[in-house]
């Protein structure tokens, strides 16, 4: 037996009244047996049955029938598998032959598909990474952060991530459902000294419950390192290695900020990348409580500066607990307090949190949805290419299909053949995609600033992802051509020597238009995102971020030496201005809800303000505009004591006509306004400017900032280092540029821009690849026609235009649909920013033109090639 399955015909069935075999048994048997064997085997069965029933009766025969059917199952399975595999071998042969025969198309198809799949997989890996944030904590499901919903007079409600110090203990005592609570206070730029070296590190003052609630595995020291006693510290693996090398640091001593010593009680493994909390060390918070100047702040129910997390017994209780917290506020903050608390699930923080003073810059779940849709769309584009190319080339398969049908193939079989072909196809593309993913992962990682690795656990998930992609793509992309091809009429197909392939064109065209729509939307989206980012970056924001070097001053010593440092720095002419301040203009978060301010009528009213302290020359370093009055000046020694400067927003808010001289009272101190500055945007672009007061900082400057010239930057940095080494040799030298700090605030928008840019480029490449395939097929189909036209006198230009016209129409349609959609979508995104670019339609029109040009280039490349063919060659085949 070789090749095709036997054609089974059925002999005429005589009536069943001659046999005594029940019809039911017969039909069951027939169904079980394979097509090939159905008739003969059932006949054998019937013959036997009569015998058995005669010998043993109906009852016995029934059981015999059941047992026989069951025992024959292995046989049926074997036959099924054998014949299916023969067919599959045939299908495989034909598919591979087809692939080899049309190498060009196959290559375009496979690579387009591979690129699409690779992009999809990379994006999915990124999304999976984002979704895994903070999930490594064992109790993550029940951990919540307590946040504040503070209402500042006239500043509107805002969620704040920071809460009062005493909240953690109080909430644990009050409510049974709170099993545990912890709080910590950020300790940034701490100088850690081990007598051999010192450096800046970032960490937290945390209480002993921190490691109970969160899962940070201990690698050195006992199960629960001591964070209860004051002056104890737990280090991260990285930090321990930095200061102690390979020695066991437990029990050793470190100096902090040259102020106090701490004893190491444990080492935890490095904080994973997907954690919203990132720290190098944890110092026991009881240490804080020993500092006399902190005592008041720690006890204050109106000072929010710590992060509070709770562990619930059951996360279903969180809503109920939130409601109970209303009473909590009345009890602890007074009946007339207008603040309220709300709970935030730990695992929601990274993607859903948009609070002020949050620990780290978070991402937005909407961007995740966006990236997921981009991934799906790119895969879709690739699948559409596959579908279009397969159906366009259907005329080549027409004869084969006709003959198969004549030989008895059913539609079901044809469909499975073609879907099988697409599985092979997609599988090959998937192999290529796997290679692409592997090759481009490092590039992708650098693009999004992440470290997505492929390790064993990941591999399994990725493998599942690959398999799913395989199935989805091959069935989705393969079904349309499968159904299309299997519906060919054998008579029509075999009579005419070729199908023109004009059937199904309309759907193909719609798909091409769809592809270009998506590409155009992506391109214009990218253009808008980039211009908004450019705007943010280059906008002056009320002050000049460029060429400003920042030097953090973290010890008493250094802060007291500020004046001397400043004088030394100014020796170098490239360092033009130097100032000191308590905050940097990029992040002023100190605020007071109840500043007393004199209004226009001379009455003192309460107004919420943000506050900061700066030194002389602040204006000059940051090039801030002065609107009225003057800044702190050495000519007016009183400025240091009771002078205060405010920004324009406060002036407008208070509706002052004459702001200079107005009183502002903080606690026991009264200040008089000496000047008004232009607004500086000291928060992110998504917030409107808040009212700001600026007082004089004499000796508590946390930062020294210097404006430098743009030449000789390395020399300047050297001078900085030399000066610090000379004046404060024990102080770890560290300085950075202000614009870097600023750019980090916008990292997620930056990522968005890069991803958008990259993938819209890929989308249009895929769309053009598809167009290339279609165009070349189109040209090939019409070689005779072109030959005839040339003979009749058409020029190359004429023919090129003729061939291209069809496709270029599509791009125009695509533009008409896509541009308004893109415009609307981008408008909505820009609403996120209080300060944004004008959504200029010009960007969109340019994107459309770009897409158009690319498409024209693609099509005309093929068309010109076809147009230049020698008519003698094309007309020779007859």
């Amino acid at each position: 037996m070789d090749g095709l399955p036997e054609i089974s015909g059925k002999a005429v069935m005589s009536s069943d009244k001659d046999s005594r075999c029940p019809r039911l048994y017969l039909s069951v048997f027939e169904k079980l047996a394979s097509e090939r064997e159905a008739e003969t085997l059932t006949g054998d069965f019937e013959e036997l049955y009569v015998r058995v029933e005669n010998e043993n009766g109906k009852f016995y025969s029934f059981f015999w029938f059941i047992l026989l059917s069951i025992s024959l199952i292995p046989s049926f399975i074997y036959n099924n598998i054998y014949w299916s595999s023969i067919m599959i071998k045939n299908y495989l042969k034909i598919s591979l032959r087809n692939l080899k025969k049309y190498k060009g198309y196959s290559f375009i198809n496979i690579s387009g598909l591979a690129i699409g799949m690779a992009c999809f997989i990379l994006i999915m890996m990124y999304i999976q990474n984002e979704l895994s944030w903070d999930k490594f904590h064992h109790k993550a499901d029940n951990i919540y952060r307590v946040c504040n919903d503070l209402d500042f007079n006239m500043m509107g409600r805002n969620g704040w991530a920071v809460t009062e110090w005493k909240l953690a203990d109080a909430i644990k005592n009050e409510y049974q459902e709170v099993l545990n609570s912890t709080h910590f206070y950020r300790f940034r730029n701490a100088i850690i000294d081990n007598n051999k070296m010192n450096s800046f590190e970032n960490g937290y003052y945390a209480d002993e419950h921190f490691l109970e609630i969160f899962t940070f595995p201990i690698i050195n020291g006992d199960k629960n390192p001591d964070l209860k006693a004051p002056f104890t510290i737990v280090l991260s693996e990285k930090t321990a290695k930095k200061y102690f090398g390979d020695e066991n640091p437990v029990g050793k001593v470190l100096h902090i900020n040259s102020q106090y010593d701490v004893k190491v009680t444990g080492v935890i493994s490095n904080i994973p990348e997907n954690s919203h909390m990132k720290f190098d060390f944890l110092i026991s918070s009881t240490t804080l409580e020993t500092f006399p100047d902190m005592k008041r702040r720690l006890a204050n129910w109106n000072s929010q500066f710590s992060y509070t997390y709770i562990l619930l017994n059951d996360n279903k209780n969180h809503r109920a607990l939130e409601k109970k917290l209303v009473d909590f506020v009345s009890k602890y903050k007074g009946e007339d307090s207008t603040s309220s608390y709300f709970l935030q699930k730990l695992t929601d923080i990274h993607l859903h949190s948009n609070l002020m003073a949050d620990i780290s810059a978070n991402n937005d779940i909407r961007y995740i949805y966006l990236f997921a849709s981009i991934g799906v769309f790119i895969l879709l584009l690739a699948c559409i290419n596959y579908m279009n190319l397969s159906t366009a080339r259907s005329s080549e398969r027409a004869k084969e299909i006709g003959i198969r049908k004549v030989a008895g193939a059913q539609k079901k079989q044809l469909i499975s053949q073609f879907i099988g072909e697409s599985v092979i196809f997609v599988f090959l593309a998937l192999l290529l995609a796997a290679i692409l993913v592997f090759l481009f992962l490092p590039f992708f990682n650098s693009l999004i600033n992440r470290n997505i690795e492929i390790n064993i656990i990941q591999s399994f998930k990725i493998f599942v992802l690959f398999v799913l992609t395989l199935f989805f793509t091959s069935i989705f992309a393969g079904s349309y051509p499968a159904f299309y091809l299997s519906s060919f009429h054998p008579s029509k197909v075999l009579k005419h020597s070729s199908i023109t392939g004009s059937t199904g064109t309309s759907l193909r065209n719609i798909l091409v238009i769809f592809q270009f729509c998506v590409s155009i939307i992506l391109i214009s989206g990218t253009a808008v995102v980039f211009s908004q980012l450019h705007f943010i970056k280059n906008n002056r924001l009320g002050y000049n971020r460029e060429h400003v070097i920042v030097l953090p001053l973290r010890t008493e010593n250094v802060r007291e030496g500020y004046e001397l440092i400043k004088r030394n720095l100014l020796d170098k002419p490239d360092i033009k201005e130097v100032t000191g301040s308590v905050n940097l203009p990029t992040s002023i978060t100190w605020r007071n809800g109840r500043t007393n301010i004199e209004n226009g009528r001379g009455e003192m009213v309460e107004q919420a303000t943000f506050n900061t302290y700066v030194n002389y020359d602040y204006l000059k370093v940051f090039e801030i505009e002065m609107k009225t009055g003057r800044f702190f000046s050495k000519d007016f020694p009183g400025d240091k004591i009771d002078g205060i400067v405010v920004n324009e927003t406060l002036v407008n808010l208070m509706r002052w006509e004459q702001p200079v001289g107005k009183r502002i009272v903080f606690g026991d101190n009264t200040y008089k306004i000496i000047g008004v500055t232009g607004d500086i945007y000291f928060q992110s672009f998504e917030q409107a400017v808040k009212p700001l007061t600026i007082r004089f900082s004499s000796s508590n400057n946390n930062y020294l900032s210097a404006r430098i010239s743009s030449d000789n930057i390395p020399e300047v940095l050297e001078h900085f280092e030399k000066t610090m080494k000379k004046l404060h040799p024990e102080y770890p030298f560290n300085c950075y540029f202000l614009d870097d700090v600023f750019n980090r605030m916008y990292s997620s928008e930056h990522n968005l821009g890069k991803i958008f840019g990259c993938f819209s480029g890929i989308a249009i490449i895929i769309a053009c690849l598809g167009l290339l395939g279609l165009a070349s097929f189109n040209a090939a189909r019409r070689t005779k026609e072109i030959g005839v036209r040339k003979v009749l006198g058409a020029s190359i230009a004429n023919i090129t235009i003729l061939l291209s016209r069809e496709f270029t129409r599509f791009i125009i349609y695509a533009n008409i649909i896509a541009l308004p959609v893109a415009y609307y979508a981008m408008n909505k995104w820009l609403q996120n920013f209080v300060y944004r670019i004008d959504n200029n339609p010009l960007i969109f029109i340019l994107s459309g033109i770009l897409a158009f040009l690319l498409a024209v280039l693609t099509v005309s490349y093929k068309s010109i090639r076809a147009a230049r063919a020698n008519p003698v060659d094309s007309l020779r085949y007859e």
């Binding site: 037996m1 069935m13 046999s19 003969t40 059932t42 054998d44 013959e47 009569v50 026989l68 024959l72």
Partner: protein, 107 residues
Amino acid sequence: MKPITRKEELLLLTILNLNKDAYLISIQDYLAEITGKKVGMSTIHLPLSKLENRGLISSDFGEATAIRGGRRKRIYKVTDKGLKALHEYREISNSLWMDYLKLAERP
């Protein structure tokens, strides 16, 4: 070529002996007669399919009878390849027996 098993040898010889009348039921009856044991449909059917797929036997449609409800029989025939395989089996059996008999003859 892969050697045949005892069961397959039995089937092949049965088919040869039954000449042009070898279908599943007749094979079943003949074997029962020869070996004295009753053989079930399933015991034969799978090996028959395997033999056919290996090319040792071929099958064709036979006559339809009333007792089968008008369904045709599947008549099996041994192919040349099958015959060759049978001979090989016999040769191996023979050489083994001859060796044994020689051994048994020695004093």
